[in-house]
């Protein structure tokens, strides 16, 4: 299954090869042009019958993770974060290190030995270590190197009412949607772009947009979802099972209002549920794309993901399906020249 393969592949920012290889294998027979640019972005082009406006659809390939910074005398590994990671989620998690996917676990001082005040706050990254079961520094050095990437070890599992638990749903869900669009649509001309290093500052999207120079772009994302009982409704950014989340504003973009209204009308016309992403926090590749060269119009459409940036992100297959249906509906309007 595609989303299982994509989420179980390792692709921490700057090390997207495994994910990129899966994507290329999936789409290569369905596109007219395919290049990997010098930063590692995958830029695919499907020819259409008419191309009045240049449309680009993007999803970033990378995920948040860790990187090894030091190996101590006991063979324990020190590490730093790559992308936005909440240090409170790290303790006791299994991880995979480097190309050979060496298994490790993130360890910390046992609760028995912690002082009372240590209970009150999360342990700092420098109080954590990765244990790969090496006897000493020399043995550890045979298995891993400083600079090795670390990704969470987390299986794709379907559970509950059409829900999925996996790591890296941000943004393999976007990659999966874009792959499906590329494979399933015909005679619709667009660029499908899979970007690198979004999580460390939208690095790949700018050069990709510079090359493509689109008129309009759709950014596909997995976005934050957080809903607790008794929470004030206006503080809920997105909810599970309420459909694709359309962005209004975030730290990187004020989304074009007319384009957003157009997307909303397409959803309504096709009876596809949708929600607005009700927070201005966070950002995505749109920030770089819409300010590249002379500027262009963007929208961001996201699948809500609970526990985002963790090994146990959760999304709904219903939201996935509705997001896919909305994208197909948008592309059919685009094909008619009415986007």
């Amino acid at each position: 299954m595609l989303l299982k393969r994509l989420t179980e592949a390792a692709g921490v920012s700057g090390n997207e090869k495994e994910v990129r290889d899966i994507i290329i294998e999936e789409i290569k027979d369905h596109v007219d042009e395919l290049i990997v640019d010098r930063l590692g972005n995958v830029i695919a082009y499907k020819k259409g019958k008419e191309d009045s406006k240049k449309l680009m659809i993007t999803a970033h390939m990378d995920e948040v993770g860790l990187m090894i910074t030091d190996i101590d005398n006991e063979g324990l590994l020190k590490f730093t974060t790559v992308g936005g990671i909440d240090k409170r989620i790290l303790v006791s998690k299994p991880v995979l290190i480097g190309k050979n996917k060496i298994l490790g676990v993130i360890g910390a001082k046992p609760i028995h030995l912690q002082k009372r005040e240590e209970w009150q706050r999360a342990l700092n990254i420098d109080q954590l270590y990765i244990d790969i079961g090496a006897k000493n520094k020399e043995e550890a050095e045979r298995l891993v190197n400083i600079g090795d990437y670390v990704s969470f070890d987390s299986q794709y599992i379907e559970f509950g009412d059409d829900l999925i638990k996996a790591k890296a749903l941000d943004n393999r869900v976007g990659c999966s949607l874009l792959i499906e669009l590329i494979k399933e649509t015909k005679d619709i001309g667009f660029y499908g772009v899979f970007t690198v290093m979004e999580e460390i500052g939208l690095v790949g999207a700018g050069p990709a947009a510079y090359r493509v120079d689109p008129d309009i772009s759709i950014i596909l994302e997995g976005t934050l979802c957080y809903e607790l009982p008794n929470m004030d409704e206006h503080l809920v950014p997105t909810s599970l099972n309420k459909g694709p989340a359309i962005s209004i504003m975030d730290r990187t973009t004020l989304y074009d209002r007319e384009f957003r209204d157009r997307i909303k009308k397409i959803a309504e016309k096709n009876n596809i549920p949708y929600q607005y992403r009700k927070t201005s926090m966070g950002g995505n590749d749109s920030g770089r794309i819409h300010t590249t060269k002379e500027g262009s119009i963007t929208t961001a459409i996201s699948v809500p993901c609970r526990n985002i940036h963790s090994p146990t992100s959760v999304m709904s297959k219903k939201d996935y399906k509705n997001t896919y249906n909305l994208l197909i509906a948008i592309l059919s309007e685009y094909k008619k020249g009415e986007l």
């Binding site: 008129d215 409704e233 206006h234 503080l235 209004i248 504003m249 004020l254 989304y255 209002r257 957003r260 607005y276 009700k278 927070t279 201005s280 819409h290 300010t291 590249t292 060269k293 002379e294 500027g295 262009s296 119009i297």
Partner: protein
């Protein structure tokens, strides 16, 4: 050159928050169309007005967007929740009136809180006097942006009103456009969008124009109010020639040319070393292979409030300096 109160009053009273600058753009087009050779609106909404000349290509940027509040949620009773578009203080926002593009007016209040220090935008709301969610939704949609309402006032010395950031820059640019009859240089006056959320319009418009020289016209703070942080800029001390802010160290040669022009023409000026904030000049000078860029600032008190204050003489001196600088022949 008299102070054109009518123009400034209309500029500050015209709706145009970041991301939704259509009305202010249309207003400015109406004011300048008879004085320029070309007018273009780009994808993001920047208004680019060209006055043709044979010299250097100069981009003059004044941002036309203003700060605002974006609706993120409409509750069951018709109250609106919001987030900030640009730098919005919760304390200044409390008890303000706001206005939407369609003219709907609301007032801002907050949930009961025991300590005013806990006031946050997330526990505040806009009341548009709707009786139900449905009634509110007839007027307002999620994603709509409103702006503070304010009253325009002036006396012999100063103007005080909202949105002087940066409608006063637009005013300086418009009046300069009217002053220049036969341009020495090829002038691109750009009324930029989305400055308040990160200099976004200046970035794309500068890419399009690819200027030889950039000049931003924007407000700067003032250090002349009681116990203000040390800042050697004050009202009624002349136009401010920017040395630096958080987005740029201005081009030394261009800065010196501005100083020389001010000295030669007896235009009162002050040098501005701002330790915070940024202007469109920050985006312009990093465009393509780099652009020598400076900025002319209008000293302003109480920025991002509904009672921003500028000195009329500083404004007039800014127009004089900009006009004289644009008449020069540049060798870079």
């Amino acid at each position: 050159m008299n102070f054109n109160s009518q123009l400034l009053m209309e500029l500050v009273n015209t709706y145009g928050p970041a991301g939704n600058e259509r009305l202010i753009r249309e207003y400015i087009i109406g004011q300048i169309k008879d004085y320029v050779d070309e007018i273009h609106t780009d994808e993001l909404g920047n208004l680019i007005a060209r006055k043709k000349g044979n010299g250097k290509k100069i981009m003059i940027a004044a941002h036309m967007d203003q700060i605002g509040l974006m609706v993120t949620h409409i509750d069951d009773k018709g109250f609106l929740r919001f987030t900030n578009v640009g730098g919005i203080s919760p304390y200044i926002t409390l008890s303000q009136q706001v206005q939407f593009e369609n003219g709907t007016i609301g007032i801002i209040s907050a949930e009961p809180i025991d300590n005013i220090a806990k006031l946050k935008l997330s526990n505040m709301f806009i009341d548009i006097g709707a009786n139900s969610k449905e009634e509110a939704e007839e007027k307002i949609s999620i994603g709509d942006i409103c702006v503070y309402r304010s009253q325009y006032n002036e006396n012999d010395n100063v103007v005080f009103t909202g949105s002087l950031d940066d409608r006063i820059g637009c005013y300086v640019a418009i009046e300069t456009i009217k002053q220049i009859k036969e341009p020495t240089n090829d002038l691109y006056f750009v009324f930029t969008v989305q400055e308040e959320v990160g200099l976004r319009g200046a970035k794309t418009s500068a890419y399009r124009i690819d200027p030889d020289i950039g000049i931003a016209i924007d407000v700067t703070g003032s250090g002349d109010t009681p116990k203000a942080k040390t800042f050697a800029v004050g009202l009624n001390k002349g136009t401010a020639i920017k040395v630096k802010d958080n987005s740029i160290i201005t081009h030394p040669k261009l800065r010196q040319i501005m100083i020389d022009v001010a000295e030669k023409n007896d235009i009162p000026y002050q040098l501005e070393v701002l330790e915070y904030g940024g202007t469109d000049s920050g985006a312009i000078h990093l465009t393509k292979s780099g652009v020598p860029t400076g900025a002319i600032s209008i000293p302003t008190r109480y920025i991002h409030s509904t009672v921003e204050m500028v000195s009329k003489s500083d404004v007039q001196n800014s127009i004089k300096l900009l006009t004289k600088v644009l008449e020069l022949q540049f060798d870079f």
